[in-house]
Amino acid sequence: MVRTVISPLRKHKRFTLTAILILVFAWSLFSVQWSPELVHAGGVVMIIEIAKGLISPSLSPDVLLLGLKASWLTLTYATAGMAIAIVYAFIAGVLASGILSDGRGAKFFSRIFFRGILGFTRSIHELVWAWLFVAAIGLSPFAAIFALAIPYGGILGRIFADMLTDLPSQPIEALKTSGASRLQLLFYGYLPLVRADFISYTMYRYECAIRSSAIMSFVGLGGLGYQIQLALADLKYNEVWTYVFFLILLVILIDGWSSLVRSAMLEKGKKRIFVSGRISALVAAVLVIVSWCYINIWEGASLASLFTKENALYGAKFFGGMLGVGEESPAFFQAESWGNALRMTLETLEMSIMAIGFATIAAFLTVIPAARNIADGSLTAKRHWYSWIVFGIVRISYIFSRAVPELVWAMLIVFILKPGLLPGAVALALHNFGIIGKLWAEVIEDMDSRPVRNLASAGASKWQSLFYGVVPAVMPKFLTYILYRWEVIMRTTIVVGFVGAGGLGQQFKLSMSFFHYSELTLLLICYMLLVIIADLVSETARKSVK
């Protein structure tokens, strides 16, 4: 009896959530006044110019050499940053999962406290961290490294904690009943159980870190983004694309490595895992060591030099400025500034919703042919000669779309679309389209094929199998990923604003240019509020569809 009541409600929930999401998206579209004039009069010309550069990227030796150097720098920053992030994530993650604490109270406290720390560190975008670090410790490579390590450690740590708490309980209980202490449980139970998942998630994050490292240029730190920015300032699109291709190559390289590691861990091919696993571990260790040495020796940066009196002084001055020291009426005490900032906050919210909406639509239209098990016919037991071609095209567009950081997309888009919310939303959508598409395609690839095959053997056609078997099975996960990406987009909105794509970020950039530090504080408060609210909303919504 109870079931008959609950179950339609549960179904209802998923349906309701979908409807709400669509409505919210529609609402966000009203923030733009749609007219042909949204595109610059010369927008088309610009598109052609940009496209020309795309098909004939500059191949001059100078540019290639510079690209190579910049790629290396980008790689070393990302590697060094990830190394710190992993250490931080490991320690904070274990503590945040509460598996080491015995009593209820201690467990609760440890969870709340460390989850709070992880939450705070990841709620601020790496570029904002970079800005704060540059202000505090100057244009040192360490500013980039720390700026990467802090939010990435926060994300990794939270996922790590989640993994530890979501484990199947039987092996752990069995170990407990055979008398293992908490730390013994950690090493004999928890760690071996999460190892594979944690490594593959870390690899995925490493790929993201490469992109983030590239855009550190925005605060004046070197790397590929720096070259892209310089080339863009000169409107040399052919060089822009050369550097973008370097970035794509780097991302593909890491992506390839990570899928190698992942498949080695999935295939229980006994001997082979150990070989490729060990080689990967070795490569990773060498990369980390070389990166740190490079930064220390070639770049001439050393950790010790960061802790100088001057740095303390500048840092204090900067943060004092942010707290409004010496100002008669800091921005965060003025009603007018608050009004302004809140308007920006609303705009930013609208931008993020538009962005996720566009990305979702594009991914939804392309994801079916992008799944390997649909292309090779193993899921629906139907094959077409063109499947692989479509698969290839869609997958390449995914890689291209996500390899280019949203910031770079934004820099290109502002040449085409008029300043406002739309260019920001489009840039964010362009980047996230590839990510959502890839994640979704993997959901389809990982789904249980038995029900679908059984539908086929009950006589369902390919499309019937898709709508009866695939779509209902993947929908909850699709929704989860949309919400999850929306959280990430929320964090990133501030960044696309830096290049004039509207919202809080643009205001942030202006305040930064005019050294109005207390305004920065106000904007950061609004931004953090937005991020925290987005996290809460998304988490509640995700739980409801589970």
Binding site: E49, L230, A233, A304, Y314, E327, K418, K509, S513, H516
Partner: protein, 278 residues
């Protein structure tokens, strides 16, 4: 395991002294084409190095504010600032001093440009059109154009077609107008003249419809250094010959002349009026 070679010599005053003994880092606001800036600034660096005996190095920057911050932190010893950034920098480092400028900088102008076939004839016509400034921190690309627009009764935040754009550099501004991306824009007169002279901009497509009254703009500002170095650097800059400066498009001048902090008080007033400096 992998120690750094200069770890030991890195602390305190010793480092400061060593740095100024060794390298003089110079910078410039990135308001123009990056390649051109590199050629021009490298030439200046070479000259300064020959004259002062110091190692001089040009550090490119991607952002106006980043250059000001680097200057504040003492990572840049000498910078070619715009009027506004110079004022910002000297507000942050009270010992810093404006030492040299180009002759034209005393009577600098911004030009407002539009497409040849557009109906914009005077400043008041830009109302309701799309508009682009240069960088947010640029004097000739943003501050003064905004000032004269306000004087004409046009509020950039409200009266354009959409929000005004910030193109980031003067070169980008005229290219954006040429391509038709924006109806009108404002930029530095010197950059415009060089572009016309070198045919980098097609004057069949773009024309000037308004030139601002004169104001002080670009200048070299030297950071907190000892008096001797300051004098040496100043002398070196002033001694640059027309031959050395010819072909350096970034400066488009034949010599540098003296200037002083007081010359930029008017700019500071304007910035305060526009609430850019508080």
């Amino acid at each position: 395991a992998c120690g750094s070679k200069d770890e030991s010599s890195n602390s305190g005053d010793q480092k400061d002294k060593k740095k100024s003994d060794e390298v003089l880092k110079i910078g410039a606001i990135p308001d123009q084409s990056a390649t051109e800036m590199k050629t021009s600034m490298d030439a200046v660096a070479k000259h300064l190095s020959e004259e002062t005996g110091m190692k001089v190095e040009f550090v490119p920057s991607v952002d106006y504010a980043a250059l000001v911050t680097a200057f504040q932190r003492g990572e840049i010893q000498l910078a070619f600032f715009g009027g506004l950034t110079g004022v910002q920098a000297r507000n942050l480092v009270s010992e810093a001093e404006a030492i040299a400028q180009r002759p034209r900088d005393a009577e600098f102008h911004s030009v407002f440009i539009t497409q040849t076939d557009s109906d914009i004839q005077s400043l008041s016509d830009v109302r309701g059109k799309s508009f682009t400034f240069g960088s947010e921190s640029s004097t000739s690309g943003h501050l003064m154009p905004r000032y004269y627009l306000m004087k004409e009764g046009i509020d950039p935040a409200k009266d354009f077609d959409g929000q005004p754009n910030f193109s980031g550099s003067h070169d980008t501004t005229y290219k954006l107008i040429e391509s038709g991306a924006f109806k009108a824009g404002a930029l530095n007169e010197a950059v415009w003249e060089t572009a016309v002279k070198e045919k980098k901009v097609d004057t069949n497509k773009v024309r000037v419809f308004y030139t601002t009254p004169a104001y002080y703009d670009y200048h070299w500002t030297i950071n907190k250094v000892d008096k001797e170095t300051k004098e040496k650097v100043k002398a070196a800059l002033l001694s640059m010959t027309p031959e050395q400066l010819s072909g350096l498009n970034m400066f488009a001048t034949d010599r540098f002349i003296e200037t002083k902090n007081g010359n930029y008080e008017a700019i500071e007033e304007v910035a305060k009026e526009l609430k850019i400096i508080k």
